[in-house]
Amino acid sequence: MPKLQKIKKVLVIGSGPIVIGQSAEFDYSGSQACKALKEEGIHVVLLNSNPATIQTDTSMADTIYIEPLLEDVLEKIIIKEKPDGIIATMGGQTALNLAMQLHRKGALKKHNAALLGTEVNSIKLAEDRGDFANLLKKIGEPLLDSVAANTKEEAFEFAKKHKFPLILRPAFTLGGTGGGMAYDEKEFEKLLKLGFTLSPTHQVLIEESVLGWGEFEYEMMRDAHDNCITICNMENIDPMGVHTGESVVVAPSQTLSDGEHQMLRSAAIKIIRALDIIGGCNIQFALNQKTGKYVVVEVNPRLSRSSALASKATGYPIARVAAKLAIGYSLNEVKNAVTKTTPASFEPALDYVVTKIPRWPFDKMPQSERRLGTQMKSTGEVMAIGRTFEQSFQKALSSLDQKLPDMSKADLKFHLSKPTDWRVFAILQSLKNGATAGEIVEQTSIHPWFIHRLEAIVKMEEILRASLDERILREAKRMGFSDSQIGKLAKKSEDEVRKMRKTHNILPVFKMVDTCAGEFEAKTPYYYSTYEDENESICKDEKKVIVLGSGPIRIGQGIEFDYCCCHASFALKKKGIQSILINNNPETISTDFDTSDKLYFEPLDFENVMNIVEHEKPMGVIVQFGGQTSINLASRLAENGVNILGTSVDAIDLSEDRERFRQILKKMNLRQPENATATNLQQALAAAKKITYPVVVRPSYVIAGRGMQIVYDDEGLTSYMDEAVEVSNKKPVLIDKYIDKAIECEIDGICDGEDTWIAGIMEHIERAGVHSGDASCTVPPYRLKAEVQEKILSSSREMAKEIGIVGAVNIQYVVKNDELYVLELNPRGSRTMPYLSKATGIPIVQMATNVLLGDKLSQMKISEPQLSYYAVKSVVFPFLKLPGVDFILGPEMKSTGESMGIDSSFPLAYYKSLLGANLNIPTSGIIAFSLKKGDQERALPLAQKLEKMGFEIAATPGTASFLDGSKIIHLNKISSGEPNLESELKNGKIKMVINTPSKGGRSHTDGFAIRRAALEANVPCITNFEAAEALIDAMEVAKENNLEPKSLQEYWGK
């Protein structure tokens, strides 16, 4: 069937801010879909609240709405744009839920907007656990015994019939939010209650557990002509009981016989047919590997995290093909974009092993419960490719860009007995300590095949410890040992190992990912390294530049940096320079087959980057856009003769070395919060005394404020120095005066060595002290005076030139009493560059890349943007997914993603940005105040405003005493019994909480309980007074104005 002729305009729904369970993979699938549709001459309209996405670029979509992903917004856009169809299967659960809500309302039918691809009924069938169970029964596929409980009674009736543990999953939530395993009745009741709250349909699926069975996934495609294919099967190393997003996963499966593989594949085809899916779909099975019996676990009737992984693992562009199928093509009518000659209706054959390892945020939130289960906690993942499991697995470990943990005996026991983020490390360590494979299998239920492979790695470590010769070195490299790993074991430096390798001509070759195991010639230059004979990456003698990516999505280094890397690559291509990208994140667009001219899927460490540099011999390497990961490699690359484009390594050091930076600011007469460095506790205490408390303390050279804290006294400082950080002469602790009650702001700019072009001043809404990545901000500023803004601009220009920036720069300031203090200068592309690009309509990263290549700003003739509207960035936090973590903002970054609101006034833009960040802002009901001293005194006007809007006000005792003149509901302290704020939140009476914690950083029992209760009740909890002020203003303005979605093109006047 050819393309459906009537389709001229399609609306694609994105997935919103990056959250745990919904990451960059949906920007990837959405972008591929947009490109596939545009190729067909279709006008693409895109809705997404996340500005850091490539899909919201004008090169991807024709009309872009950065607006909240809400029912009425979507309906208004449909009315305005009149699309012929909607694609809701590329934006994760968010997009699917949104489309289903609109369908239930009858709005899709009313406005003649059909869902393209998989139809509504199929989605309902796959997602409603009860209906799905019936369907499987009908087609004779085994499913776990389960119940879709709508009431507590139903749930307990099921629990009576089965043994614990039982698995609970709220219906229609993403990444298994709120789900978990109940080992007893108490846990069962707790999870049940949470599940009912979180499920939009108030339904919780309860199922018997098959703990310990193998978990396998099948990525399927089906077209409207009923052609079905399997793209890839994947095996979770962690057996059932751990969410697949939390599992170490390999592709293809390693332990299945052909008979078992075909049995599951046939079942998957039967299911995708019965569901009448058109497009992509993911089916999960549990297999008892002692009996061969299987059950169906789950179906995702849309593109998923696993489909992104399967795309990168096989080279098959699933989203692209799914989009073509959605508009009517059959699989055989779509070409395999990799071979360009064979059709897309085939099943990829791999001749390598792929390993995915998740990246968890526990390093930044050590308070969090590390146990893994059915709910996702990881923020991102790495993927590695090797010719053997050992090689692939070890390359994946190198890609994590994380220090491997040291574990005590007790730690080992803990991490082996229950799945945690450290389990694989615990297994390796235990094997080293002499545990047998059998014992590990006993403890973990992991398939013995994998344990044997890990054993092989441990054996090789022993050999390396004993001696190192050419043969052993070659064997170790073939097993994926890095030079530095080998060096550590053989007591040599990494450089010595590298030299030895070269002496013996043990050099990597690069093999192609071609979807067909070499059977056909492939056109897509997508490579991985291995130690074998034939090199397939042919280097052309032409101008080329390597762009270093940013690795896995983690807190502090998110999708924004991938956005920057993609744009650097686009800019290079436009200039006719070959762009070569190195990255290891399977979720992102930078690792898509057509983003760069050449892609190396490799760990981002010195060894691998240098290998590629030596092979390709580029004119230079761009380190500015991959965040701290890539910039940290700059100095070693430069020492080895690599040309770092733009800002020199010395200038990078100048901005990062506190002492040198202080000197240069002094020379320029710029102020800094008083600061000092300390290499031991005595020095630190003395410095703090001189600077005066409160002070901000942090280790040097870190990503996104890791280990950063505000301390208020000697006691706090002492415990920080003792527990929180590793200090050495090489790595001092930085101590800065904390400037309280001040406004923080930052600029992003580009300097060509002489001129500096500034994209905008972003004013933070929260008071200074909240990490810039966690703060909401607005461009243009709403409080800063014109002369302060002038001063910011001129200081920024001076600094950039003086330091020697060439390319991107980000400078952060704090303003108190109109006085300007410089906080820091980042000599690289920043987190806010994509947001500013969307706010202004200027491709800032591409401008910066052109500067790196020698262009002058003066020739570009692009004036600095003056916006006649406001664009506000807000952020989302992962607290709900991370039990045990307190919801307090401070100098340590905790957010995972961002949204943007754009409108004619600041309050409206702010309001939209918060809606875009999934904040459930109330329009009526009770709003509760529980403030710290200092804020209590300022609360009355806020309460009065809210009362005027028709809200009722409740307050805890301390705060209540300052709210005279307003009719308030008195709440007890938690210790004094109910009604208190926690109990009223749990009863569902409170619609919003404004709670400012005292002395940020220390969790306060009452406050902690209140904040968790708010989170679990899905009630906004505002923890920053300035943010509350701005929000209440915004609520006031929003009440009087209809929120109208407007495309970016309309704002930009283009």
């Binding site: 699989l331 001749d351 195991a517 070499g518 059977e519 004979d533």
Partner: protein
């Protein structure tokens, strides 16, 4: 530690690869081919269609789930040599009773292990399949390069009589169903018989050189022309017998399909590097539906020589070669791929049902 064996693989063009050897010490020559299936190594090793060939698996890890009697497609190993990137000799599957090394030794074949298999696959893809010789020897010994080179240069796959060794020697009867099927065995895979038995048919397995008269004497309800090894052009005698059987319902598979085509007057030709894998898209031209199929063949029917009374029913979408033909009026059809799978997708098992229906209805295919 036991001293490892060594292996050397020599290609017709003179390139030699030395690496570790496992299995039996031996020297054998054959046509070097590759298979892209990621599972099903045991089914491949025991598939009679590989007689006369040295097989490279493109998937690098072989032996992961071990070996089991259940996964045999015949009672022995037909490949003359095996090439893998990495051999797993400690399988953990609950059904496994052996490992790669032992399995190969038991079957008197050897494997070369640890070489850059992908580079050889790419060579074959570019230059076409070629003869090669493989020697497995004890670590202390020197390889016999002269013999290997001579073997690699002189081996001619099209001259090897593979079918005789792969076929049964006398009639074997399987099952007791009411519907009687004559399976002409040119090197049949076990699962063809299983598929028929599952459908309650009685299977009379005939040697490849059985005469049409012998077969007719048993008055079968239908005939299956099995898969098998080698160049179909060598099998003129077999084709002549098939010509005499065209008044029966017939289903041809792989080599059986080629022979049926020849019986209908068509010619075969050699493909550059054949089709061997579990992922080949084939379109049924009548329904326009695509199935993913298992393939294992080095020859194909020449589209231009298919005679008038016949129709091309299936095409390979990768290279548009003929994958199926049917007689326009008689209940006779054949496919180039393997509906019996083992290894590979079971998407085309329905063809056995179709055959059964043809027998029952007696209509054209």
């Amino acid at each position: 530690m036991l001293k490892k064996k060594k292996a050397i693989l020599v290609l017709q063009d003179g390139t030699a690869y030395s690496a570790e050897g496992i299995g039996a010490c031996c020297t054998k020559a054959g046509e070097l081919v590759f298979n892209t299936s990621m599972t099903g190594y045991q089914e491949a090793l025991s598939d009679p269609s590989y007689a006369g060939q040295i097989l490279i698996m493109t998937y690098p890890l072989i032996g992961n789930y071990g070996f089991s009697k259940e996964w045999q497609e015949s009672d022995k190993v037909y490949v003359r040599g095996f090439c893998v990137r990495m051999a797993e000799n400690a399988p953990t599957h609950f059904k496994s009773g052996s490992n790669l090394d032992k399995f190969l030794q038991d079957n008197e074949v050897g494997a070369i292990v640890g070489l850059d298999t992908r580079s050889i696959v790419r060579k074959i893809r570019n230059k076409g399949v070629m003869p090669a010789a493989l020697q497995i020897h004890e670590a202390g010994e020197e390889p016999d390069m002269k013999t290997l080179l001579k073997l690699a240069k002189e081996t001619d796959y099209s001259k090897i009589d593979c079918v005789t060794g792969a076929s049964c020697k006398k009639i074997i009867t399987h099952g007791e169903g009411k519907i009687k099927i004559a399976l002409i065995d040119y090197g049949a895979k076990g699962n063809i018989i299983n598929e028929l038995l599952e459908r309650k048919m009685q299977v009379m397995q005939f040697p490849h050189n059985a005469s049409a008269e012998e077969i007719k004497k048993c008055s079968p309800h239908g005939i299956i022309l099995s898969n098998g090894p080698g160049d179909p052009a060598r099998l003129g005698a077999e084709v002549n017998e098939i010509k005499k059987l065209l008044d029966f319902p017939i289903m041809g598979i792989c080599l059986g399909h080629q022979l049926l085509g020849c019986a209908a007057g068509a010619k075969t030709y050699k493909l550059k590097f054949g089709h061997r894998g579990s992922n080949h898209p084939v379109m049924d031209l009548r329904t326009k539906k695509v199935a993913i199929t298992t393939q294992n063949h080095g020859y194909a029917l020449d589209e231009k020589t298919i005679s008038n009374g016949w129709e091309i029913t299936h095409l390979n979408l990768n290279d548009n070669t003929v994958e199926g033909i049917a007689h326009k009026t008689l209940p006779i059809f054949s496919v180039q791929f393997h509906p019996e799978a083992h290894p590979g997708p079971r998407d085309s098992e329905y063809l056995f049902d179709k055959f059964l229906k043809l027998i029952k209805d007696g209509k054209n295919a």
